[in-house]
Amino acid sequence: MTSATRARLLAVMLARHAARAMPGAGSPWAEAMRREIDHIADDAEAVRWALGCVLASYRARLLQRPTVSARTAWRQIAASGALMLVIGLALLDNAGGQTPPPKPAFDEKPAFDETACDLAPPPAVCRLPCADRLPVERQIAPDDPNRDAPCSSKSKMP
């Protein structure tokens, strides 16, 4: 099939589609557009013509849509507004409480445990009471036998 024949075929198909898409298919106007294709010698021009016919049909179809009166339009707007209000209020009621966090599955280890701390325990410090000076913090080794003794009973450290 040559490209010229293909173009002609495309034009005919488009023109047929335009005739079908036209409101009141089979009307003289739809037929007029379709038949005019056969009188166009140039194939490319026929395709352009057919595309225009499709456009004209769609335009006619859009213009044929039933018009809505202002009163009906206002009614629809009011009904839509009332419906949106009801939905909004319902959502507001349901969203009032806190949503609990999702529970892990039975055998699933939680990503982190909020109650346990995995940091090293802080070193024990002994605060030496000094009447006339600021308290000095000293670190005590974990194996110090006097670790748990009260600060007053500890020997003075250098």
Binding site: P28, W29, E31, A32, M33, R35, E36, D38, H39, I40, R48, W49, A50, L51, G52, C53, V54, L55, A56, R59, A60
Partner: protein, 100 residues
């Protein structure tokens, strides 16, 4: 301010084309070539003018054998009046533009 009906550039071009060959039946493709209007613009205009009683249409046998009949159009008396009015307005506007 609302625009006057049938005063668009495309409609005026179409009416002027009909007026140039008044009384002659014209075909869609010929009108398209003469006015430069594409079929997507031309046919809605033709339909509207026909609905308004400014244009009449009929089926015409093809000049060449083997081809289907074509739809042909020409202005009605009311259409001719409108086309003449618009042509006169165009001439007046053109003269006013030249003088200004």
């Amino acid at each position: 301010m609302p625009r006057r009906p049938n005063s668009s550039r495309q409609t005026r071009a179409l009416l002027a084309s009909f007026l140039d060959h008044s009384g002659t039946w014209r075909h869609g493709y010929d009108l398209s070539k003469e006015t430069g209007l594409r079929s997507g613009t031309l046919y809605p205009l033709l339909m509207r003018l026909s609905e308004q009683g400014l244009l009449e249409a009929r089926w015409q046998e093809a000049e060449r054998p083997g081809l289907p009949p074509r739809h042909a159009y020409r202005l009605t008396a009311a259409g001719l009046v409108l086309a003449r009015e618009q042509a006169l307005e165009a001439i007046t506007a053109e003269r006013a533009g030249v003088l200004a």
